[in-house]
């Protein structure tokens, strides 16, 4: 009886410690997955921005985002990092464009809907030749 009691106590303590470490590992793995997905989204958006020479309307039609202000466009993503509506969004990518016609500068920020920022990139694009 005494042995069983000790076994149960030790098992309970070890299990609790392991569950705590499992939880931390799960959180870390989720953060890594979010960071990887955010990087992929940011890189893809940056290359699209360069390819369309900084034209936000063209960028939005390629990436599935929408222009939210004069120099700003946004893409919303759901929990699985698929493009979605704002109502289902868990993450978003915001592109802010500025600069002259010859050289445009875009700031890409990928954030969680709560506001935490995963990635922030500066990208430059040659403007369209008139």
């Amino acid at each position: 009886m005494m042995e069983m009691l000790v076994v149960v106590v030790i098992f309970a303590v070890c299990s609790a410690a392991c569950v705590k470490i499992f939880t931390e590992a799960y959180i870390t793995a989720n953060n890594a997955r979010d960071l990887n997905s955010a990087l992929l989204a940011a890189k893809s958006s940056a290359e699209c921005y360069k390819a369309v020479s900084g034209d936000l309307n063209a960028w939005s039609s390629i990436t599935g985002g929408h222009v939210s202000a004069a120099e700003t466009a946004v893409i919303f993503y759901d929990k699985e990092w698929r493009t979605s509506d704002e109502s289902e969004a868990a993450y978003f990518l915001r592109l802010t464009s500025s600069g002259t016609n010859s050289l445009l500068s875009g700031n890409i920020a990928v954030c969680g809907i709560a506001g935490e920022e995963f990635v922030s990139l500066e990208v430059a694009a040659r403007g369209r030749e008139e």
């Binding site: 030790i10 070890c14 470490i21 499992f22 870390t28 960071l35 050289l103 500068s105 430059a124 040659r126």
Partner: protein, 149 residues
């Protein structure tokens, strides 16, 4: 026969086995998650430094098209006229990290238009061949090499 105290029975053996398995799986999961995070952080650093260099390269090209020459925005510009292309073949590198750089090569035409010939990430460090072969050449005696009296 009176048995008392804590004995090592089948329950203890099962416990040891279960805790051992649990601990191993937990540690593997934890290490795997940490490795994933470290890789993701390294990728984030690389992507950031790449786009910083990319932005600098675009600015340098903008300056070159505007007629700048010599060192532009801290980058050493090398230019050579190409009679076949009738263009100034211009190349420069933008640093990304201690060991990586973005190498850019463009053909700059007289009408201030340009074609990109190369735009790639490459190693910045010089290759150093280790040709040293630390073997006894026969010139010194064993005593000199070992320092023995």
């Amino acid at each position: 026969m009176n048995k008392s105290g804590i004995g090592v029975g089948s329950a203890s053996i099962v416990l040891i086995f279960a805790v051992l398995c649990l601990t191993i799986f937990t540690l593997i999961t934890y290490m795997s998650a940490n490795t994933e995070m470290a890789l993701a952080n390294a990728e984030a650093e690389l992507v950031k430094s790449y786009y910083e260099a990319d932005t600098l390269a675009e600015r340098i090209i903008d300056e070159l098209v505007s007629g700048a020459s010599g060192n532009v925005l801290g980058a050493e510009i090398k230019s050579e006229w190409d009679w076949d292309m009738l263009a100034d073949i211009t190349e420069f590198s933008c640093p990304m990290s201690e060991r990586k750089e973005l190498y850019v090569k463009i053909a700059l035409y007289e009408d201030n238009s340009y074609d990109i010939l190369s735009w790639r990430m490459r190693d910045a460090g010089e290759w150093e061949t280790d040709a040293a072969l630390p073997v006894w050449t026969g010139e010194d005696s064993i005593e000199q090499i070992t320092g023995a009296d």
